[in-house]
Subunit: 179 residues, 2 copies
């Protein structure tokens, strides 16, 4: 049975960028890549080893957060938050209702819509599953020097904004049109 090596080492050298001019910037970007890879791998493993994938888990987190805030969440809002289509969201709701993690309640004012509510079971499970990881993440975050935290937050937010804006360009050669 061909199996993969779960702990692949660092990719090693970098690729292009002739000379950005600053080693610390290169190091920063390398760290970002390392993190992205670890994150992607974790999500995949999460999907493989548990009976819930990353998107579903993320949805539950959002629902629980919203509930704590007293906000009602509609499927449409959920799809927007998760950045997936409404059809995919419907499937997601099916999965999570089937597994007993949430229920659909009628929307108080709009009879087309509905309100998605996490069950007690969902609360418990998310707590169990994420509490440990989250505590560890908080610990890591606590290791960041106080005076540097704002910089880290700014950096991550700016990166996120950049990624959000990215991709669309695609100003490339005539590509095989995939059809």
């Amino acid at each position: 049975m061909p199996r993969m090596d779960p702990t692949s080492p660092e990719p090693g050298g970098y690729w292009y960028e002739p000379d950005i001019g600053d080693d610390t910037i290169v190091g920063l970007l390398a760290a970002v890549r390392t993190f992205r890879r670890a994150d992607a791998g974790m999500r995949r493993r999460l999907g493989a080893e548990m009976d819930m994938n990353g998107t579903d888990l993320h949805a539950l987190q959002l629902l629980i957060a919203a509930q704590a805030r007293g906000d009602a969440v509609t499927p449409r809002a959920l799809s927007a938050h998760l950045a997936i289509s409404t059809a995919s969201t419907t499937k997601l709701l099916h999965r999570l209702t089937a597994s007993g993690h949430l229920t659909r309640a009628p929307h108080p004012t709009d009879r087309r819509s509905l309100v998605v509510v996490p069950t007690a079971h969902a609360h418990q499970e998310v707590r169990e599953r994420l509490a440990g990881m989250h505590a560890r993440m908080a610990e890591v975050a606590g290791g960041v020097p106080v005076e540097a935290r704002a910089a880290v937050v700014d950096f991550l937010r700016a990166m996120a904004a950049l990624l959000d804006a990215e991709v669309p360009p695609a100003p490339l050669a005539p590509r095989t049109p995939r059809a």
Copy 2:
């Protein structure tokens, strides 16, 4: 046609953690989540809008980096680096050879194996596709105060290590065994 909102706002509040004791830590973790979500969304869009998905692109980066270092890369090594199975790697190689991004050359010493080599086309394309984004990322990175950069790098690395180590536990209720 149901379409999603590509620029969903911040998830808002958080969920559990009674009182971590420090708002800046919560902010940090929120920023991490924002980034993770942006990254995942970017990868998905990348797969949707281009004719290459994130894994393939990652593979090309690795190959190009290895080539620059003078290292030969076998499919097996690639599968280990990408943390996917050898079967998936074979499919990946099919995709990328079909699209003219790489070629399979005989391995110099092991006749079972082979060496995967990126084409000039791959070089050009990766450069075109990533140079812009990468330059922007470098710009963002450059915006981080010099004295805070080491802290950012440490933080991201620690987070990555944490995610790498995460998931396996799964000490939960008897779960439906998915079979």
